[in-house]
């Protein structure tokens, strides 16, 4: 208070009182009695408060008023701590969830790389069949780097996870091998030492740069780390510098801890289909992405013609079909944007609905409070407060709630964000920075203000409507305020809650239903007790040695106690796709002379037994299948496509000049993901591929009983026994792999399910609260009806009729609103359509059941009204 009592303060009340006192003094001077003078002065003067208010209006009174409104709001909220706690917590949840999702959207899609002028960065990409940008080979990179006039520089990166060894200790790290201009083009600074330059790009490079995070973790930011050596495979590097702390690499979500100069073999540099490089460039000042892209199209077609000349016929066609583009890359090379944008936007929609529900709920609570405070508000209006003034005061209260909710929400958003990121990552390294920045803060503030207006305006406006005299006259005595309008608005609020809940329940049903159907899809294999292991080896093996070591690994794994069978494959089912190959199938009606494209996989003996895929005809591969008589196994779809109902065994398939004899037919298995169809697939034995090292394979181990984590140690031992140079790189259950193929779906189903349940709870509480209030208010009416002979069922019917109206309205509106938006999630759904009648019927049934259940208790109370007591209340 004291800070507002400045020397120059107008003291309006004093001034007005002085006037009135002078008036009284004057009347007395004119001979009136003191009482009479006072009376006349008061009559003449009218409402002193009103005059003061008018003067304050003239003076403009924001600061003082806002301060006093705030004080008042804090005081009234302090008197209702339970209400304040419920309101703030529910708002915190709603705002926190929104902030968390926005934080991730911000990190995944809105943030630029922490480099100089990121808007000038572009990506050079080969466009894949699905239109997404893919990696490039070395020849086009050099071609673009040297010929594109719009760019001032370009670099390529080949990244992989590698065992990095420091002081003899191995650690699996993300590493990037980069061309010389990498740091210059990006414009990244060094935290310590120096960064790589073009001079480091030599045939046998020795310089390595580490990330600030790795420097911190591994060396405790010790400056002497510079000059230490680290080894990757057989190469030894000297650490020459540390990148600036904000820089983690060019791919959001992945932090590269070690960056070394790129080394490629001569054949790798020549091969124009060896697509392993991420390529980025920097535009010259003033150049645009469109411009660079136009230049690239010209250069690309010249490159294609040139490159295609040296290729065999089929590859030539592929090369000429290939497309490339220059794309904006201020956020680096960011596949997360493609993977996560659709689930993230769906989640954003869902949490906005949750927030809306929380708002409407708060609206209902505020309305109930306004009803209870009607007497107080009426007094304030009666003694001269304007309605706008009272509305502002009530809005201040919701503002305080919204801001408090926002602050708590912001606090939990960080935690929620990390939780969500770990759910998205699902065991895979995903290094997203979810610490709030200014855009997150702005978002939260905006959401909080919107909440305040949304939740507070209607109840505040309602509170100052109607007559003043009503509430002041006796109505307070029975605790029954104006009935009509308040009842209508609160019914509207509950109906709105039901409508929003309907949308959330529909969302939950859609996403949970999709997930359940995906898990029920026939995968073509049963890998429940199967563990998938990968191995790594530092040195390289000769082809002969590879064959021996691989066979030994499978043998040793099979010998581990509890293991039923073991095998290996190059491509795992549900891992995203198969190799593709062109084949000619002898005596097949399909294709004729032209080769046909089929899926292709390399497997070890006993693969199908281990994976749990049924062999329909013929046999699996065994150790005798060698190079002199190549054999193959095909899946049902392959057999049906090429041989119809005829036998497949013994038929011959030619691919890349090798002719294979089909020795087996197996059931179809899904290789891409659970949604996509079956690919015509051909399997060949690994004995035919001596050039592939053991690290190329996934080793499968089927256990006799459900597998346990304890076996990992024995698997590692088995691998080391097979060859001392081998290490177990990872071992995870197949169930986990299946889960990983459904990250987005599982996330959506989990969260949508939670939100749906929350919506049901809030809707039910809304109905319960309103009806309890309603029944209490109508106690005397019910008592009277009962005294006049109404039965219990009649009274319950009265209550349920209200509920039925609200449910019908809520479900109808909710259904209509859902139908307008569910289409947006079409791609994410599986086995249900966005307007599936069954889904909507289920959601409506569940919601109605919850609402009716919530109405049951108040309805029963209505039926149990004791007429005598009820009538005595009046």
């Amino acid at each position: 208070m004291s800070i507002f009592r400045r020397p120059n303060r107008p003291r309006i009340a004093d001034e007005v009182r002085f006037h009135r006192d002078q008036l009284i003094a004057d009347y007395i001077a004119r001979g009136l009695t003191a009482d009479e003078a006072r009376r006349r002065a008061f009559v003449e003067f009218g409402n002193a408060n009103a005059i003061e208010e008018q003067v304050r209006d003239v003076r403009g009174r924001w600061i003082a008023d806002v301060a006093s409104d705030l004080r008042y709001a804090l005081r009234t909220l302090g008197r209702a701590p339970a209400f304040a706690a419920v309101a703030i917590l529910s708002l915190a949840l709603g705002i926190g969830a929104n902030t968390a999702i926005f934080t991730i959207i911000n990190a995944v899609m809105l943030r630029s790389l922490p480099v100089a002028e990121p808007q000038r960065l572009v990506q050079f990409a080969r466009l894949r069949g699905d239109g997404r940008p893919g990696a490039m080979s070395y020849p086009p990179f050099v071609h673009f780097r040297d010929r594109l006039p719009s760019i001032s520089g370009a670099f390529a990166q080949w990244h992989s996870e590698q065992a990095v060894s420091v002081d003899g200790e191995d650690e699996l790290l993300m590493t990037a091998a980069v061309t010389g201009d990498y740091f210059r083009v990006l414009g990244v600074g060094a935290e310590a030492g120096r960064l790589l330059t073009a001079a480091d790009e030599v045939p046998v490079p020795t310089a390595a740069v580490i990330s600030d995070a790795y420097w911190h973790r591994r060396f405790g930011r010790d400056p002497s780390a510079i000059g230490r050596s680290l080894a990757i495979r057989t190469r030894v590097y000297t650490i020459v510098g540390v990148t600036s702390p904000s820089f983690g690499g060019i791919r959001p979500g992945i932090r590269y801890d070690v960056i070394v100069p790129l080394v490629m073999t001569e054949s790798q540099r020549r091969e124009s289909t060896f697509n392993v490089l991420s390529v980025m460039g920097r535009l010259r000042p003033g150049a645009t992405v469109e411009h660079a892209n136009a230049e690239m199209q010209v250069i690309w077609s010249a490159f294609q013609t040139e490159a295609a000349r040296g290729l065999p016929e089929r590859a030539r066609a592929d090369m000429l079909r290939a497309r490339a583009a220059v794309l904006p890359a201020s956020d680096g090379i960011n596949p997360l944007r493609y993977d996560f944008s659709s689930p993230l936007f769906i989640l954003m929609g869902l949490v906005l609905l949750v927030l809306l529900l929380v708002c409407v709920n708060l609206s209902g609570l505020l309305l109930a409070r306004a009803t209870a405070r009607q007497h107080e508000i009426a007094i304030r209006l009666a003694i001269g407060a304007s309605r706008v003034r009272v509305i502002r005061q009530l809005l201040t209260e919701s503002l305080v709630l919204a801001l408090a909710g926002g602050a708590v929400g912001l606090a939990i958003a960080g935690w929620l964000g990390r939780l969500l990121v770990s759910l998205f990552a699902n065991g895979v390294a995903l290094d997203l920075d979810v610490t709030p920045d200014w855009s997150v803060l702005a978002f939260t503030a905006a959401v909080s203000l919107a909440v305040c207006v949304l939740a507070g305006l209607a109840p505040a406006a309602q509170a100052v409507r109607g007559t003043i005299s009503g509430p002041l006259k006796g109505a307070r005595a029975t605790g029954t305020p104006r009935v009509g309008k308040l009842g209508k608005l609160s019914k509207l609020i509950v109906a709105a809650q039901l409508a929003i809940s309907m949308m959330l329940v529909v969302g939950a049903t859609l996403f949970v239903g999709s997930l359940l159907r995906l898990y029920r899809v026939d995968r073509g294999f049963d890998a429940r007790p199967v563990i998938v292991a990968a191995v790594r080896h530092d040195g390289s093996y000769t082809p002969e040695r590879s064959q021996v070591v691989q066979a030994a690994i499978v043998d040793r794994l099979r010998a581990v106690p509890g293991v039923a069978s073991a095998s290996a494959t190059q491509v795992l089912p549900l891992s995203g796709g198969l190799w593709s190959r062109d084949v000619k199938v002898e005596g097949s009606a399909v294709g004729g002379d032209q080769p046909e494209n089929v899926g292709f996989n390399v497997i070890a003996p006993a693969y199908f037994a281990t994976l749990g895929t049924t062999l329909i005809a013929g046999r699996e591969f065994d150790a005798r299948d060698g190079g002199d008589a190549p054999v193959a196994i095909v899946n049902e779809t392959f057999a049906r496509a090429f041989f119809g109902d005829g036998p497949a065994l013994g038929r011959r398939v030619t691919s890349l000049d090798v002719t294979y004899t089909i020795v087996g037919v197996v059931r179809d298995a899904k290789y891409q993901n659970l949604r996509d169809g079956i690919i015509r697939t051909m399997y060949i034995p690994w004995t035919l591929r001596s050039e592939d090292p053991p690290s190329r394979y996934h080793f499968l181990v089927r256990f006799a009983s459900p597998e346990s984590a304890a076996v990992v140690a024995s698997l590692d031992r088995a691998v080391r026994d097979a060859d001392p140079g081998l290490r177990l790189r990872s071992a995870i259950s197949y169930a986990t792999l299946v889960d990983r193929s459904l990250v987005a779906e599982r996330l959506l189903a989990t969260l949508a399910g939670m939100f749906g349940a929350l919506a049901l709870l809030i809707a039910a509480l809304g109905v319960f609260g309103l009806l309890t209030f309603h029944v209490a208010r109508r106690t005397s009416e019910f008592g009277l009806r009962m005294a006049l002979g109404a039965g219990r069922s009649t009274l319950m019917g009265l209550v349920f009729r209200d509920v039925a109206v609200m449910i019908t309205a809520g479900v109808t509106v909710g259904t209509a609103m859902s139908l307008t938006v569910t289409g947006l999630a079409q791609k994410t759904l599986f086995g249900v359509t966005p307007s599936d009648p069954l889904v909507f019927a289920t959601a409506a049934a569940v919601l109605s059941a919850a609402a009716l259940l919530a109405a049951w208790l108040p309805a029963r109370r209505a039926a149990r009204v004791d007429p005598l007591i009820a009538l005595r209340v009046e």
């Binding site: 309006i12 001034e15 002085f18 006192d21 002078q22 009218g46 005059i51 008018q54 209006d57 003239v58």
Partner: protein, 113 residues
């Protein structure tokens, strides 16, 4: 309040002018302004407190008048208003305008007779 000022544009302008005129005579508090206006207009003009005080504070906000708290003859604190130089110019302008306006109106009324 905007609605008030719109409702009685002329009246308010006139009231402002009259108040400025009274204040121009020397430092004076609100009650005395009301008394003086009533006397000077021979009881024709009676200013409601509900109009007087908002008007005074509006003038103060426009910096046409200045206000200080000071003791009256009877020793009570009152808020005394004085004219600023801006206020004096305003008064002159308004007065000139008023003269022109009333002359014009009287002219019209005379010719109409």
């Amino acid at each position: 309040m905007p609605s008030d000022s719109q409702r009685s544009d002329l009246l308010q302008g006139t009231l402002d002018m009259l108040i400025l005129k009274v204040i121009a005579l020397g430092p004076i508090h609100g009650y005395a302004i009301a008394q003086r206006l009533q006397q000077m207009s021979a009881d024709v003009l009676q200013v409601q407190q509900g109009s007087l005080y908002p008007a005074l504070h509006r003038l103060e906000k426009r910096r046409w008048v200045r206000a200080v708290w000071a003791a009256t003859d009877t020793g009570r604190d009152a808020r005394f208003y004085t004219l600023t130089s801006v206020g004096r110019r305003q008064l002159d302008e308004q007065r000139e305008y008023w003269d022109r306006l009333s002359n014009a109106i009287s002219g019209v009324l005379r010719t109409a007779e």
